[in-house]
Symmetry: C2
Subunit: 327 residues, 2 copies
C-alpha cells in the first residue's frame, strides 16, 4: 500500500511535468469563514484537475514494455482526462470508458488528448466492468483505476506534500484540510503525505448531500454505499463507495466527513470566481463550501480547502453564478 | 527613472507579500494559436490584478513618516484595489478617487480594503485632478500614480523578472511577450526586466480597438492621445495616452503595438475559462486575444501573454461566455 516513500518517489517522477499549484487566499473569504481560509488550486493542474497527478504517477511507474501496449480507464471525466493526457505525454495509447451522459466538455477533451473514448449507457444497465475486461484482454491494456490503486494514491499524495510545504512557508502548520471526496484517492493521498510532513493538520473529507458514503463509512467504521442515483450536480466526485484501499487510510487518519448542499456549492463557486479568479466545477467546490459555511463543525484555526477540479460547462458555471447568493 | 536595480530592489521588498503567479499553458491554446502559448496569470495576484505589485512597491519605498500620513490614488478600479490593499497591509489610510461609473465590484472591493472612496462624475466634467489636489493638500497624502511613477514601474517589473525565470525553467528564452497595455506601467516594467534578464524576448503591447493610443504612439514615435470615449468594454486598460515616463521605455524596447476587437477579447475570456480555469476581465484578456488570433502579426516562436486582471462582474463574464464562439 501507499506510504510516504511512494509519495516522495511519485513526486520525483512528477518533477518538471506535474504543476505545483498555488495555495491562494483572500481577505474576503477569511471574512465569510471567520478564520483564515487557504485554497489549494488544483483546477490549475494539467487537464484541469488533480487527477493528472495520479494518472502520471501510475503510468510513469509501469514497466516500459507493458506501458507501451497502452492503458485503460473507466471515468466520468476528470480521471479520463488525466489518464488520456498522461498517456499522450508518454506516447502510448489510451482507451477510456465513459458514461454517455458525462459532461460534454469532459468527453470532448478526453478525445482531444488523443484517447479512444468508448461510451456506455449506465442508465440502461451496461456493465462497464464487463466491457472494460473485454477491451483489456483483447488489447493487452493495463487498467489505471481511478482511486483504489497504490500508485494513483501516491500521485494524489504529491498534492499533500505541496500543501505541507506551502502552508509552512505561510507559517501554517496546524490546520484542518478539507478534501473533495469521491472514492478517496485524493483524500487518502493527502492524509498520508500530511501524516508524515504536517502532523499538526487533520484531513476531513467533504461530500455533497445524497452522496455521503464516506461520511457514513467513517461514522460506522465500515464501508457504506450510496443507494440513490449515480449521477448528480457534483459529477466529478460521485462514486458508489470509498475504496478497499482508501477507506482504511481515511478511517485511520481523517476526522469526520462533512456534507454540503448544492446551494452551498454554488455559493462557493461564485466566491472562487469573485475572490480568487478561479473556475471551480461543482464537485471541486465542496471543500470550499464546507470551509465557508460549515465552520461550526470545524476545529478552530486555519482551514485549507482543495479546489480539486475546474472542468465545468459554461452553462453550468453561468447558472451557478446567477443563482448563488453573493457570499 | 526605473532600471533593473530598482526592479530587483522592488522584488526584494515584495518578498513574502506579492505572489509569484504561475505561468500556465494548455495544448488546446497552442492548437488555436499554432504555436506554444504561455499565460502569466496575474489574475491570481492579490486584489486580482498586477496593480498590487506597483502599489506595494511604491508604498513600501516611501519614507515611513510620510507614508504614515496616508496615500491617494486616482483609478477606475484595479489600481484603486492595489493601492487600497497595499495601504491596508501597511496599516496606513488610503483615499481613492474613482469615477462613479466604474464597475460596481471594483468600487465595493476598494471600500472593503478599508480605503475611503471618493466618487466623481467623469461624464459631467468633474476634474479629478483638482479634486485630488485638494484632498492631497488637506490631508498631507502622497499621490500614488497608476503608471507614470518610477517605483510603480519597478513593481510591475517584478512580473517581468518572474516571466524571465519561469520561461527559462520551461526552456523558453526567445519569445514574444504580449502585454495588456493602458498607460504602459506593466509594459514598461516588463520590458525593462526582460531587457536585463531575457534579452531574447521582445515585448509587444496590446490594446482594444478604439483605444490604440500606444500603438499609434509607437508607430509615430511621439505620444498620441485617444480622442474617443473614455469608457469602454476593456475598462481596466483605457487611458488617454501613454505616460511621459513609460513611453520612452516602450519606444526604445517594444515592437509595434497590436489591436484586438471586443469579439476577440470575449473569445479569449472563454478560452481562459475553458482551458486554464482562469477568470480574466476584458482588459486583462487583450494580450491572450492577440496571442490566439493575431499570430500572423507576430514573429515565429512561443508567445507569452499577460493575463493582467480578473476583476469582472458575473454578468459581464457570463455574457462573454455565452456570446463568444468556442475557440
Amino acid at each position: 500500500m501507499t506510504d510516504i516513500a511512494m509519495i516522495e518517489a511519485a513526486a520525483a517522477r512528477a518533477k518538471g511535468v506535474v504543476r505545483e499549484t498555488p495555495l491562494l487566499n483572500s481577505p474576503f473569504l477569511d471574512e465569510v469563514a471567520g478564520r483564515p481560509v487557504w485554497v489549494k488550486a488544483e483546477v490549475l493542474q494539467h487537464t484541469g484537475s488533480f487527477k493528472f497527478r495520479g494518472a502520471w504517477s501510475a503510468i510513469s511507474a509501469l514497466d516500459p514494455e507493458l506501458r507501451a501496449r497502452g492503458v485503460l480507464a473507466y471515468s466520468s471525466g476528470n480521471h479520463a482526462q488525466g489518464v488520456a493526457r498522461a498517456a499522450q505525454l508518454h506516447g502510448i495509447p489510451a482507451t477510456i470508458l465513459m458514461p454517455a451522459d458525462a459532461p460534454r466538455l469532459k468527453i470532448e477533451n478526453t478525445r482531444a488528448y488523443e484517447a479512444e473514448v468508448v461510451l456506455y449507457d449506465r442508465a440502461g444497465g451496461e456493465d462497464r466492468n464487463v466491457l472494460g475486461a473485454e477491451l483489456r484482454d483483447a488489447r493487452g491494456l493495463t487498467l489505471i483505476k481511478p482511486f483504489d490503486e497504490p500508485q494513483v494514491i501516491a500521485g494524489q499524495g504529491t498534492c499533500g506534500l505541496e500543501i505541507a510545504a506551502q502552508a509552512a512557508a505561510e507559517g501554517v502548520t496546524e490546520a484542518t484540510v478539507l478534501t473533495c471526496c469521491g472514492g478517496g484517492g485524493l483524500t487518502a493521498g493527502i492524509a498520508l503525505a500530511l501524516e508524515a510532513r504536517a502532523p499538526g493538520m487533520q484531513v476531513r473529507p467533504v461530500e455533497p448531500v445524497g452522496f455521503d458514503d464516506t461520511a457514513r463509512s467513517l461514522a460506522s467504521g465500515q464501508i457504506q454505499r450510496n443507494t440513490g442515483p449515480e449521477a448528480g450536480y457534483c459529477d466529478a466526485i460521485l462514486t458508489p463507495a470509498p475504496g478497499d484501499l482508501t477507506f482504511p487510510v481515511l478511517h485511520r487518519l481523517c476526522g469526520p466527513g462533512l456534507v454540503v448542499t448544492e446551494h452551498e456549492v454554488r455559493a462557493a463557486m461564485r466566491a472562487a470566481f469573485e475572490r480568487l479568479k478561479l473556475v471551480i466545477e461543482p464537485g471541486g467546490a465542496v471543500a470550499l463550501a464546507a470551509a465557508l459555511f460549515h465552520g461550526a463543525a470545524l476545529a478552530d484555526g486555519p482551514v485549507i480547502a482543495t479546489a480539486s477540479g475546474g472542468n465545468v460547462d459554461a452553462d453550468t458555471f453561468t447558472e451557478a453564478l446567477s443563482t448563488a447568493p453573493k457570499p
